[in-house]
């Protein structure tokens, strides 16, 4: 298992976000869907922000989407990312609707091969024994 990951890690035991991390370990992209009104939401929340129903059912998404925009970090703007630069972060418009940010791991160092509108798919990157992060690559 890779041990040189220096970036931030999520608490996978958090009951709110735990199902997302468990799915990521299985290579699935999961988000919550309201049992009452059916609204799909990202990020995880304890209450449906549309109809205020508590809870939510975890559902698998296709894990595909389109780049809405992106930023190329040439300089680490926080100490946790000193080893990561240069890197590209994309705002991905999921095919199901919600937007999700994530690193675009197959981008050129200067991001010159990335354009808005490119199709991407989720890539599941184990960074510790416990944590698999959702990253993105061009489809």
């Amino acid at each position: 298992m890779t041990t040189d990951y220096a970036g931030p890690l999520p608490d996978t035991t958090d009951p709110l976000t735990g199902p997302h991390w468990a799915a990521a370990r299985d290579g699935r992209l999961a988000a919550q869907c309201c049992a009452r009104c059916g609204a799909l939401r990202w990020q995880p929340a304890p209450i449906c922000p549309e109809c205020l129903q508590a809870g939510g059912d975890w559902v698998d998404l296709a894990g595909t989407g389109t780049i809405w925009s992106f930023a190329v970090y040439h300089r680490a703007m926080g100490p946790a990312f000193r080893d990561a630069v240069p890197y590209t972060v994309a705002m991905v418009e999921l095919d199901e609707g919600p937007r999700m940010v994530g690193m675009l791991t197959d981008a050129a160092d200067d991001g010159s091969d990335v354009t808005i509108g490119q199709r991407v798919r989720a890539s599941y990157e184990p960074v510790t024994d416990d944590v698999t992060l959702v990253r993105w690559v061009r489809a």
């Binding site: 970036g7 999520p10 930023a71 190329v72 040439h74 680490a76 703007m77 990561a84 972060v89």
Partner: protein, 383 residues
């Protein structure tokens, strides 16, 4: 000027004093000491004593407990009838609260202040901003530069805006700052210099991002009736509007902040003032991208035309729409928009020396709290 849906507070409250401390790096001084120094300066400017103040509105520091009304009241020896603290910055939101407090009768003369030692205290700005910070942090989307870079990239994609056009925000503000002795960054900055500087978060460069600085600012506001007795000309609050986007990324295209257009619509319709009437424009500029966005959302140019508008030099000294005549946060100092308000008042009073704009009567100050809130005020020499 035609008045449409006139606001009940139009012209009822005026700024009668402004104070700004030196800006820069002041190790060994607390944020609260700096805030109280600004209060003293603003009261002197207003020709008032501490005992004349019956309201206090303070601004809490980012990621620190400094700046609450309890701390400032104790340090400044004030027992005002009304006090409050806003825990996010910008003078506009504080000014609006002051107008509400004066027009409701909760207080008659209010001092508003902000002091920070964020540079000396090495406050951490390398964190995610707005809603949903945890997942943004995991993705490396830290510092306001990241989402601002995405917003500008989107603008480029939709409208063909160029980096050279965006350069004119920082370049024009540096030209203003060179005329402002209080500004921290006064070295020349050309479009060529800008384009030659390295990317921090592409497509943004160092000149696109506010510096981090220590400093303080304060304002004194009172009712229009009381304002007439002050030694300096009152600057009236003719209009104000706000809009939130508290749902964050659940809002459509939230990084482009279309809800700022709602602030603008309400600002113009409640005041009867139109963009063409504006002599001076202040835009709180955490990043240069905010200037581009707000020129468009407030209707100073059409949506998508901000790039050419800037490149024509309209916002520079001598241009048709002077913007951030203090140099803004990009060149003067990072004060969460408070110095924009101070500068607007000083310009309307005609106190700005080499950078004074000829006989201005209306200034507009537009500010925003990242991707969550927008606010704007119209200030005028006339009621």
């Amino acid at each position: 000027m035609s008045t449409t849906t006139e606001s009940p507070t139009r012209g009822a409250v005026a700024v009668v004093g402004v104070g700004s401390t030196a800006q820069g790096q002041f190790p060994g001084r607390s944020a609260n000491e700096i805030a109280v120094e600004a209060i003293e300066l603003a009261l002197a400017d207003a020709g008032l004593e501490k005992s004349d103040v019956d309201g206090l509105i303070t601004c809490q520091n980012l990621r620190s407990r400094a700046g609450t009304d309890e701390q400032i009241g104790l340090l400044a020896g004030l027992n005002p009838a009304f006090s409050a603290t806003l825990d996010y910055g910008t003078g506009n939101f504080s000014l609006h609260l002051a107008v509400m407090a004066v027009t409701s009768g909760l207080a008659s003369t209010i001092v508003l202040c902000y002091g920070t030692n964020q540079r000396s205290a090495k406050a951490d700005f390398g964190v995610a901003v707005g809603g949903g910070a945890d997942f943004a942090t995991l993705s490396g989307l830290v510092h306001v530069a990241g989402p601002a870079a995405m917003a500008f990239r989107r603008h480029q994609h939709l409208y063909g805006t160029t980096e050279e056009q965006l350069a004119h925000v920082a370049v024009a503000q540096r030209e203003w700052a060179q005329r402002n002795p209080a500004a921290i960054f006064r070295d020349p900055l050309t479009v060529e210099d800008y384009l030659a500087s390295p990317y921090l978060v592409a497509p943004l460069r160092r000149p696109d991002l506010t510096m981090i600085s220590d400093g303080g600012a304060a304002l004194v506001v009172t009712s229009a009736d009381r304002a007439r007795d002050r030694p300096k000309s009152p600057v009236y609050v003719l209009g104000m509007a706000e809009q939130t986007a508290l749902r964050g990324d659940a809002n459509p295209d939230n990084l482009t902040r279309p809800w700022l257009g709602d602030v603008a619509g309400r600002l113009w319709s409640s005041s009867g003032v139109r963009p063409d009437d504006v002599d001076l424009l202040y835009i709180q500029d955490a990043t240069s991208v905010w200037v581009l966005q707000m020129l468009e959302w407030y209707g100073f140019c059409k949506l998508g035309e901000g790039g050419p508008f800037l490149a024509e030099g309209r916002t520079r000294p001598g241009g048709s729409l002077p913007v951030n005549t203090n140099g803004g946060q990009l060149s003067e100092s990072y004060m969460w928009g408070w110095l924009h308000l101070c500068e607007a008042v000083r310009q309307l009073r005609g106190e700005c020396g080499d950078r004074q704009v000829a006989s201005p009567s209306i200034a507009v100050d537009c500010s925003s709290h990242d991707f969550l809130k927008g606010a704007a005020s119209i200030l005028s020499t006339h009621q």
